[in-house]
């Protein structure tokens, strides 16, 4: 089977306004997602997939790992940057946990835009929130976008 994916839409720097919301996404962290977390990150530390192990260390349950966390945030930025843009920076803070059966949402909004010698910078506030803890992972990012001119 050949892979055939539609191109992501391209947003241009000229059209960006501070406060614009990014097209976020979300889903429920069921057990299939836990397995995908281990597969996708290749992080086999048991605190992220073995509830008994996690509880023996004083945790309420397993919690999703750093590789999973950064992939969600990077996806939001790279989807926004589009085929001609570039994700330049990502910063995130592991403040609270994302656990099994949480429903998560990955969201973002434009915090600033400026032309610099390096490119057309769009600064983005983004985060992962869940229905148990609220904002679990505050983050920020910078993407370069093409100009229409």
């Amino acid at each position: 089977m050949a892979v055939k994916l539609d191109p992501l839409p391209q947003i241009y720097f000229d059209d960006v306004k501070i406060g614009d919301e990014l097209l976020g996404f979300g889903y429920k962290l069921d057990w299939t997602e836990m397995v995908k977390q281990v597969s996708g990150s290749q992080d086999f530390y048991a605190v992220h997939h073995d509830p008994e192990f996690a509880k023996s260390g004083g945790h309420k349950d397993i919690f999703y790992n750093t590789g999973w966390t950064r992939s969600q945030l990077y996806r939001l930025l790279s989807d926004y940057a589009g085929p001609e843009g570039w994700v330049r920076k990502l910063h995130f803070e592991m403040r609270r946990m994302n656990r099994p059966n949480n429903s998560i949402r990955v969201k973002g909004k434009v915090a600033d835009r400026k032309v610099t010698p390096d490119g057309n910078e769009v600064h983005i506030e983004l985060w992962i929130e869940n229905d148990e803890e609220g904002v679990a992972t505050p983050a920020s990012g910078v993407v370069f976008l093409p100009s229409r001119r």
């Binding site: 191109p7 290749q42 992080d43 750093t66 950064r70 085929p83």
Partner: protein, 191 residues
């Protein structure tokens, strides 16, 4: 590396460790499609720049690229058969030369910053160099003598071009029993 307080001198530790570089580490395998597919499966990504070979060929990169946050994956050697997945203490956690002395051995990972400099392309061979960017003491609620460490890893491709930088800030603190037994604790918590 947990050390007794009589051996702990933050200024000497800073002088020895801040700016210290570790050894070059080469990725075991080249940048490949399938780990990228698994990564995108994990986050419901459908970016053809990462996943669609035909689209990649026609893109400005002339091939597929990897999500920048996979730099450490492709510059590493993965989880190798033999580690059963139990306590992480049984796993090699990095080279001893960069194991900063701290007063406690309880670890908290706080934040990570990535900079993405150049595209990571299919077929690239990545390598990395770790280092210590900063070490300092800063109190936290659990421990007035927590030691914070900023690790910086630089990732390069086969042409020795810098492709990404990651900086991870974490700290190590003492157990509540160790903090309670420290005669300085009451004075420091009043400050």
């Amino acid at each position: 590396m947990k050390v007794p307080e009589r051996q702990f001198d933050i200024e000497k530790i800073r002088a020895e460790y801040v700016g210290k570089k570790g050894q070059r580490k080469d990725g075991l395998y080249p940048v490949e499609h399938d780990p990228i597919r698994r990564h995108e499966h994990m986050c419901y990504g459908r970016n053809p720049l990462f996943l669609d070979p035909e689209y990649g060929k026609q893109s400005k990169y002339s091939t597929n690229i990897a999500p920048g946050v996979m730099a450490d994956y492709f510059a590493g050697d993965g989880t190798w058969p033999g580690w059963a997945g139990g306590d992480i203490a049984g796993r090699a956690m990095g080279e001893a030369a960069l194991d900063v002395p701290t007063l406690g051995d309880k670890a908290i990972n706080l934040s990570t910053t990535w900079e993405f400099i150049k595209p990571i392309k299919i077929g690239d061979r990545l390598w990395s160099q770790p280092g210590i960017a900063d070490v300092f003491m800063k109190p936290i609620r659990l421990d007035p003598k927590a030691v914070w460490v900023v690790n910086e890893t630089r990732f390069y491709n086969q042409d020795d071009e810098l492709v990404a930088i990651s900086r991870n800030t974490g700290l190590r603190h003492r157990s509540p029993e160790e903090v309670a037994a420290d005669p300085d604790t009451a004075r420091l918590q009043r400050q």
